[in-house]
Structures are given as structure tokens and as C-alpha cells.
Symmetry: C2
Subunit: 284 residues, 2 copies
Amino acid sequence: MRDLTQGGLEHLALNWATVRERWDLAQTIEGCARHGIPGIAPWREPVQAMGAAAARRRIKDAGLRVSGYCRAGLFPAADAAGLQAAIDDNRRAIDEAAALGAECLVILGGGMPAGSRDLPLARRQAQDGLAAILPHARACGVPLAIEPLHPMYAADRCCVSTLKQANDLCEKLDPYDDGGLGLAIDVYHVFWDPELEREVQRAGAAGRILAFHVCDWLVPTRDMLLDRGMMGDGVIDIRRIRGLVEAAGYAGLIEVEIFSRDDWWRRDPEEVLAVIAERYRTVV
Amino acid sequence: MRDLTQGGLEHLALNWATVRERWDLAQTIEGCARHGIPGIAPWREPVQAMGAAAARRRIKDAGLRVSGYCRAGLFPAADAAGLQAAIDDNRRAIDEAAALGAECLVILGGGMPAGSRDLPLARRQAQDGLAAILPHARACGVPLAIEPLHPMYAADRCCVSTLKQANDLCEKLDPYDDGGLGLAIDVYHVFWDPELEREVQRAGAAGRILAFHVCDWLVPTRDMLLDRGMMGDGVIDIRRIRGLVEAAGYAGLIEVEIFSRDDWWRRDPEEVLAVIAERYRTVV
């Protein structure tokens, strides 16, 4: 397990959403560089606004890596045209991720379309959508990182709810280990899972851990979407999970992604980044 | 699969918590009888206040069955004395359930003690606690129904988060199928689970489905604890899940348990029971 307590921040990355209410993408790139944070995970909207090629130049000039590009997937749709539109949009996201030099493209399963109660159908659509885009992702050299989201988002955001489900998807869609498909593991979404250890090992054994995200689970959690905690302020044993992930072979960046409408999003990002750096050393 | 659309409410039960803000236990017993609801699931506090023997008399006189007694378990503790206190309290709950003639005692895993981040330890304590009380439950003829709660409660309420985990616990603690141990399956807690079908079948094959609870998952859900929906108002395919549970052999009561601070708890229970009866026929 890597020792983060000494020295620099060489394995740290910042997801732009953590400071999205205060900093645009350019400010976030500069902020990361200024704080010695070597990785960044941008979202599509600001990248599209800046242009992916321009964004790549800025990020590269700042000496940063792109830990992941957020986000695509979101396949389930009310009809075939909707699913096809999602697939087309995913192809564009892959092109953007390639232009950006992203280490992976983060894939969310998507929720059930409005009015639907058919979660198994949504899951089949997510699988079909992934199958449809995987060849393009491989051709572009952009690994797809399926990120299981917490089961409390299963209905309306992400029908891929567990590591086992994501691992099963990988095995189904990439049966010969041709690569280009794997997992993004976020402690917030998986810390509760009784199968955590087994499924992390399984993903690692197949070389499929593509990203590792951290934040914390607050007790109480006041909002299901926008009340994530800073590492150390909640109940997740982050170091234990990082130990599992690294024992399984992961050696990539550790990305901080905090949605916190009433706390961290209101603070000066300079303070946010300083606290992240401190917690990276003491808690992560 | 049973046809609920015709005739009476012969498989319906009401969990007292559904009307707890307006009706005490005596009122709820009378209300169920008046509405033709043949089952009731009382909670410990009102039963203790009335006395279990008196509660049993009233319930029996009203012609009702007790679908389950809520609730025990909640084992994880900061130290051995705390765990022992929980075990002692569970023994009292078993005695009350026996006095009440309850068809099962609902068992929650419990959350991590304050200050703890050790979810695996909480899970070991839940297992140890169950092992400690199972002989007494068997001696009293009170089946223990482990109810996995939604993973969003894993930290602070219930470390048993999935059907698989509950099935695994049953196999560990009752390896020779001596009985007295099984599951309570609540659609709210399990509808998201990719392993739902498999684990319901597994529980049913072992004769371990002891209770079946219904309500609905609202989109959006505004409160993680107190914003459950009336059947039909949310996104759960309740009939599909009931079909799985009944195909797995369950033939018991269908218990309605709705925590709804801002909606159903504010309404006249006469209306709540009428709507439940209607949804039982049309949605469940």
C-alpha cells in the first residue's frame, strides 16, 4: 500500500465537480497546478465550452494528467430512438475523452426512463449501450470505466449498483480480456457492500480497476445527492478500502469528488484544496 | 401468484408505524378490524405500554393475526457490555413476541456505534448477537426474521444490507435447517438489488421467507428515512417482486409499512387505510 503521509501529492486528482460552484475549468486547472495536485477530472459541459483540444493544451501546459472524463453512459431510454441517441452521444464523449487524453471515460448506468418501473430492462439497455460503444472506445484508446453508484440512485440515476454487477458486465462484454473496459471504484458508492473485498479482488485480478474516487459518507446525510463529506468527516474507512484496491493492483490516481451544496461548495476553493491535501495525507 | 384484485383483503397486514402519528395501538387494532384488514404488526413501545398479554387479547378479540413484531436486533455496540445489553434486550423482545403470538420477530442488523468506521466488525457483532439469541427464540417458538435494510442505512441503522447477506447469515447460523431463522423481505429495501431474483429463490428454497413488506420508492426521495411512498406512487414494480416471493413459496401476509412524515402520517388514518385497501387490489 502506498504511503501518502510523507512528501507530495503525487497520486492526487481533483474532480472538477468538487469546486464547480466557484471555479470554472480554467481556474480549476490553475488551482490544481498551484496546489501541487497532479490530476484533474473535468466534466463534459466545461470541456465542450472550452473545446476539448484547447482544454487538453491547458491541462498539459499545467503539467496535469486527466484521471477521468465525466461522464457518459446513461443509456436507458423510453424507446429505441432514445437509446440510439444515447449511444451517439457516448461516441462523442469518447472522442472528447480521446482529444483530452483522459485515462478513462466514466460510465454511469443511467436510471429508468420517466414512468418506467422496469429496472431489469434499464439494465439490459445499459449493457446493450455499452456493447455498442466499446469498439469505438477501443479504437480511440479510451478505456471505459463503469462506475457503480450507490443503490439509492438505482431508480433515477444509475442502474449499475454494485461492483459485482459491474464486474459481471465486464466479463460479459469483454470475455476474452481484450481490455478497454473496467471499473471506477468510489468509496462513497461501495463502502456498504458486503462483497466489497471479493469484488475488488476480482476486478483487480482482471486488471480492470481504472479509477479510484474518494470522499466520505456523513451521518446523518441530509441530501441524497449533494451532501457528501470531506474525507475524514464521515464513517467510511477510506484507508482500508484504498488498501484493498491497491492490494488488487491499482496504482493510479486517487480522485477526490465531493458534491456538497451546503458546505464545501460554499467555501473558497483555495481552502477546499488545502483541506483535501491535508486529508489526503492523514486520512486517505 | 395469488390474485388480490378480487374479493377481500385476506392477505393484508398493517404495520402500526404507517399510522403511528395519529393512532395508538388500540385505535390501530380497531381500525384494522373495521377495514377488514386481518393482520397487524405492532412495535415494541406501544406493546410494552399496553402489556403484551393485554395487547394479545385485544388483537385476538379483534380477529387479527400478528404478521410480525417490530423490532429487535440492533446488536453492534462499542464494547462487550453493550453487546450483552443488546442480547438481553433481544431476549425480552422474544418473550414479548411469544406473548403476543407474533408470526415472527423482525431483526435489524443495527448500525455502527458512534465513532466507529468498522462495518465488518458491526457485521460480526450482528452475527454473534443473532447466534446468542437464536436458541431462546426457538425455545419460545418465535421465528427471527432478518430484514436487510437498504444500503443507505448501512452506516447508522442496519449493517445487514442485502438478501444475500441475510441468506448467508441464515446458512451460517442454521446450517442444518433447524428452522426458527429466516428473512423479512421489504420491497423498499431490496428492489434495486441485481441479485434479487436469485436470493429470493434461495431464501424460498430453504423455507426462510418469513415476512413480506410493501410500500414504494418515490422519485425524488426527499428524506432518507421518512419519505416512503404509498404503493403505486413510486417506481417499484411491486407485483413483479410479489410474484418472485410467492413463486418461492411465500403464502403469508403482505404487510404495509410506510414512513411518511410529510404526507401519509399527516392524513386521517381512515383515509390511509382506504387507500391501502385500494392499492392492495390494484397495484400490489
